[in-house]
Structure formats: C-alpha cells, structure tokens
Symmetry: C2
Subunit: 413 residues, 2 copies
C-alpha cells in the first residue's frame, strides 16, 4: 500500500508558508501502515497538477492532495480533477445548505455566487463532508488508484483526515503493519555512535531499517519495521534496542514519546500533586509558553516571571544586588535565587529558572555568548548547572529549552 | 530559470519532522528570480533519488537538494550523485583538515573512519565549503542542469545558501526579475473579497498573478509579477494595489512586511524611547516569547508576568479581589488591572495584558470558550477590547497573539 502526498499552492513554492500539512498527512498515513513514497508540492497550475496525477497513477495506490479548493479563481483543483477524471461538476444541495448555515452563523453576510460554486463537486466523487468549512473533501478512483482531495486550511484538513479519510482507507485497502520507535541519545556524535554500533547495525534484518536523526547535541535512532503484526514488530524492535545498552548505554536518555516532554512533566507533577512556576531570563517566556499551550496545564502550571531586564530580577524575584555583583547575572547563584524568588511569590512547589546570554552581543552580562545557567528547585532537592551552547542565538534558545525540560523530567521521575 | 527542490529523508515522509528547509530554499530562490516549479520530498533510497534527478534533468535548470550527507549508512546522497554523474569519490585533504579542527574544538573525540568518509566528495564536484559542519555542499553540472547538494541540518544549509549558493547562481545564470507584495485584509471572507474585486482581478495583465491566502479571519492578497526590472514591477504592483482601496479600503490593514510584526513594534518602541512589559494569562508567556526571540529585544522589552493561576493576578499583579468578583476573571476590567499592575512592578512604559478562556473546558472563568480580553496601556492612552474567537484552543492562541500584536502596532504608529 503506497501513497503520494501532493500539496498544491504557489505560497508553498515561494516559501511564504511552511508546508505543515504534508507532515501531518505523512504521520497519519504512516501510522496505519501506508508507505508514503513521495511528497510533492506543486503550483496552482493545471498542467503541473495533471502531470503529478499521471505520475502518481503509475506508482501508487493512493494520492492525497491538499489545497486549491477555495472559492476564488486561483483555486483550480476541482476543475483539474474533472479534466483528469473526464467528469463534470454537479450541484450538491446538502453542501449548499451547509454553506448557508455557516454563513448565517459566522460570516453574517449573504452567500454569493462564488460560495455557491463551492457546492459544485465532481459528479463521480464520494464526498467527505467538512463540517468546519465550505470546501468539501473528495474521494475519487481511477483504475487502481484512489485520489483524495482535501482543503488546505490545516484545521479543516486535519479533521477530515482523522474522522473521514483514515477510517475509509482502513475499510478500502488491506494494510500491512508498520512499527517505529525512536531511541534518544545525548553526548555522542552521529559518527561515533555509528562506529560503536556498526556490528549491531549490520545484524538488522531486511525488514527493519535504522535511521540516525542528529539535532542539537542529541542523536535519535529510529528503527522502522514492516510486517504483518504490529505487536510482533514492536517486540522485535525492543529486542534490538535492548542490545544497544551494552554498546552505548551511558548515552541513552530514553525513547521518544508520542507525548511531548512538557506533557510528561505535567503528568509527573500531577502524580506528585506539585505545581510548577518558571523564572525566565534568556528563555524570555518560551518555557512557560511550552507548558501553557497544552490544555489542562492550569492543573500544574501556576505562572512565570520573565525578568528579561536585570533590575526585575531584583525588584520582582528578590535576587540580591550582592549576588549579582559577586557572581554576575549569568551565574548559578543568580539562577537559584531566581528560582527561590518565583517559588516565594507564586506559591508553586517546583521552579525552573534560566539565565544566560544567547548573543549575538554580550549585553548586561559578562558571560561569554552561549553561556546558560539553569536552576531547578523541588520540595526534595535544589541544583543548578552551567552550559556553553555556542554562538547562535536561535539554537541557544532551543538547546536551553530542551535541556531545561530534560533536567526537569529527570528530576521528577 | 526554473528550479526543483528535493529534500531527502524518510523522517520527512513519515512526518517525524516538518520540512522547513524547502520553505527557506523556496523563499531564497524566489527572491533572486528563480522560479521554483516543484518541491519533492523523497526517501533515502537510491532509486527514488535517481528518478527525481532524471525527471528534474528534463524540466529545470537547477536542482537544489538537502539531506543524506551525514556520516552514517543511511546517508546515500553522495554515492547516488556519483552514480548519476558516472563519477567516483575523491579524498579532499583540506576538508579533512577542517573536520579534524571541528572535532578538536567541539567534539573532543578522535576523528574516526566514518568522519574520514566525509572528506570524500565526487571528483567532478565544485565544493561549497561548510565552515559550520562536517558535510560539504556540492555543485555539479550535467548537460544544462546544475545539481546542488546541501546538508540537511537547517543551520548549516541556511549558511551555505546565503553565503555560497545564491552568489554562485547569480554569477552563473541570467535571471529575470520577480516581485511579490502581499496586502493584508481583515474582516471579509475570501469569497466576498473576490466578488468585490472581480473586475479588478479580470484586468490584471498576464505577467501579474493574484493569490488569495486566507488564515484565521485575515485574507492576504498576494500579487506576483515577472519581468526584467524589479523596480518597474513593484511600481506596477503598487498601482494595482492602489486601485483596491476604493473597492475594499475599509478592510485593508496594511502590507505584509519582510520584518515580523514584533520587530516593527520593537522599532516603534525604540523610536519613542518606550519600554514594554506583558501581563499574560491565556497567552501563557507566548507573547513575551515572540518579543524575546529577537536579538536586541532587551532595548525595549522589560519582562512579563505570566499569571496563569487566578490567585497570581491578585498577589503579583495587584488585581483586586473585588474587580475579579464583580467582572469575572475574563473581563476587560481585569485585563486593564493586569496591565496597570505589570507597569507598576516593571517600570515599563507600555503594557499589553491578555486574559481569556481558550478551552476546551470552562475552568476558573465563567466566560464562554473563545472569549479573550486584551488591554493596552501606553503613556498616551489605555483601552481594552473583547473578542470571541471560537472553540479551538490552538487557533485561539494564534488569534489572540495576532490580535494583540496588531492592536499594539496600531497604537504605537
């Protein structure tokens, strides 16, 4: 069972938007055992779309496309589907009724001719009903290949994939089992790991594939297996991963979870009935934002003080002028004092504090660019650590967030 | 001058990562007048890569690929290039010296055989030197098509594109001029705009193309023009945009800037010698994070209080229990009191405060899900507004951030 993903829109090709739809679709299809062979992003252009259809027809069983279903002139996917399928557009009264309802409820403007066009779909299509928007999904078959067209608005697309497309694929196609698991390592480079595990890698059977995914000091090792029984595949993967402990055990930090590390921390906090606060200088609120973006965070997250200006570390968090003068603002004593301060004013049980210099210039601190101090206080322990992350601001933020979350999860475990 | 972008890596196809490299490349190529015809993401698989090369060879002048240049077994781009170009790998001593230097400086481990392989490049390639990593870029030509291979690590790829690839393309190819400009509108749906501007759209000449980009209550209108003189094209675009004011003038909020709205706000603050603080409930630190991710933010950003728990609105920001009891926690009086509170404790000149209920459950507030109050105080005015954004948490966060930034920029203008 092989699939291509086609995302349609000039805004992707000129880099005006990052194509997150393709990644979502890739993940969702992969999860049910569909092998995604290719992702293509192409122009809002009939020739380009027909070419992509023709190539996919020869190579894959399923084509999932997004985009080009809006009401305006540059949206040509439906017309192109009609041309490819030798079909014509037909008026669907139930779609029209739905569009009218949406307009009455949200747009508060009368439906116009362009909206009416959205109720026109190819006569041969099976409609995938989109309750959240005016563009319906479509499912069409030509010879052995199914073509599915979905709206490009991520929210509407996601709903249609989860509620309509995936169940229908499962009904229609016999699917193999796929299994993936990703081991996380810290502190060894990709090439050094590869050297240490060369014999192990050699011993992997044909149906299990290894990938190295290096990123900012961490290397993730992903095993992907294909077969008929997911549980059996996962067991096989686990057995192979177990064999890595004698080889690189000191550097294995765990497995990538379906759950984000913030959610894992949240669960650990809830289990202990502890609440969390952050005191952030260099991370500037990004740590708090990671927690609060999750629904239910108020069960364990109390709040944050972003003391970006040095004087706020004193006036709000109560870090003493002496501590700053003696150790400089980027120092473990200041990080610990910030953590203590935020515990005091928020009443939280656990605090994480960050202070550092991300560059590009030295600023208030004397610390070298890339120096970051992280402090953690829980009812059971307090500690701090200093890191030298390098010269690049954007990476320094990401590395600090990764490190702080990693330290916190480890402490709560 | 036409180009294809090829990103190589199974992690893209299974949705483990979002392909941001393609968007960066698309933007960079487009900017210098290269038309990107297609973005393809393919597997780490020799057959798939050769197929993509062959197709591109027939269609485009330039192929830029990323990924598959690491030191491990799953990295096969170099070998595939050799096969496609009927070439062999050659040892480059200067690359080896650079790899050894990087290892000495950062890895603190001896160079191994796999790293030594990274100093092997196709003998026919022109090397694009990568000072930040061990994988070099490569430039190779076959008949009329140039193939460029870049490492997949975004940071290294970006450097090579800006410092090496773009200048070399400009030297090698005659380039047409391209111009894009994007007008932002608020408050009208895509189809209503399309109806109002139908005659105008009809009047656009062949070389100027219109695209509608709807997103969360805003519709952006992009005009793209192709010709020989960028200035002339931009003037043409401006003339066409001017003609839109009589048609939809009330809904035009400006033009998309190369500069993010946070940076525009930062510049406006610096001009007025004002500093900013945020008091965040529902945005949970995300607003502060948007400002502090930019280098130089300390010139105008003082800090933030994320009072996620209701009691912190009182204890840290000094919102009175009466105000909360009388108006509920999601209310304009509370937002204004939060803004006042954060001004007081940070000494900033300008404050933005957010309080709302993003859902999925009602929580502490009585407010309907999707209700958000935003307050702004400057030395010259204070005001607040209430919005009903809808039922979807993720979208509510994005809409609130957009709205708060928009309100703030407008106030400072």
């Amino acid at each position: 069972m092989r699939a291509d993903i086609i995302t349609i829109g000039d805004e992707i090709l000129i880099g005006q938007i990052v194509d997150t739809n393709a990644a979502f679709l890739g993940k969702a299809l992969n999860k049910i055992g569909v092998e995604v062979c290719q992702i293509r992003s192409i122009s809002d252009n009939k020739t380009a779309i027909i070419e992509a259809f023709t190539e996919a027809q020869n190579n894959v069983d399923l084509v999932v496309m997004t985009g080009g279903l809006g009401p305006t002139k540059d949206d040509i996917t439906k017309h192109t589907l009609c041309e490819y399928f030798n079909d014509t557009l037909k008026f669907y009264p139930e779609v029209m009724a739905h569009i009218e309802e949406l307009f009455q409820k949200y747009v508060k403007a009368p439906v116009n001719d362009l909206n009416r066009l959205q109720a026109m779909l190819p006569s041969k299509c099976t409609q995938l009903f989109n309750p959240h928007g005016t563009a319906m999904g479509m499912w069409m078959q030509k010879e052995n290949t199914v073509f599915v067209s979905l709206p490009g608005v991520p929210f509407e697309m996601k709903y249609l994939v989860l509620e309509q497309l995936i169940p229908r694929i499962k009904e229609t196609f016999p699917l193999p089992a796929l299994a993936h698991k990703t081991m996380m390592t810290y502190g060894l480079g990709e090439s050094i790991i590869a050297e240490k595990i060369a014999d192990w890698e050699q011993s992997l059977p044909q149906h299990i594939k290894l990938a190295y995914l290096p990123n900012l000091g961490r290397v993730r090792l992903r095993l992907s297996a294909k077969g008929t029984d997911e549980i059996k595949l996962l067991n096989e993967i686990d057995t192979f991963f177990d064999a890595l402990y004698p080889l690189i055990g000191d550097h294995i930090t765990g497995f990538e979870s379906e759950e984000s590390i913030e959610l894992q921390i949240g669960n650990a906090l809830k289990t202990k009935h502890w609440t969390l606060a952050t005191a952030e200088s260099c991370t500037g609120g990004a740590l708090a934002a990671l927690f609060t973006k999750n629904a239910g965070a108020s069960a364990y997250f109390k709040g944050s003080v972003v003391s970006y200006a040095t004087d706020l570390k004193q006036s709000i968090l109560g870090v003493s002028a002496e501590t700053i003068a003696k150790h400089t603002v980027v120092s473990e004593p200041v990080a610990l004092a910030m953590a203590r301060g935020v515990l005091l004013i928020t009443g939280a049980h656990v605090a994480v504090a960050t202070t550092g210099n991300f560059g590009p210039t030295i600023g208030d601190a004397d610390a070298e660019i890339g120096t970051v101090c992280i402090a953690i206080i829980t009812p059971e322990q307090e500690f701090s650590e200093t890191f030298c992350f390098g010269k690049h601001r954007e990476r320094n933020l990401q590395k600090t967030l990764n490190k702080a979350l990693e330290m916190l999860l480890k402490t709560l475990d």
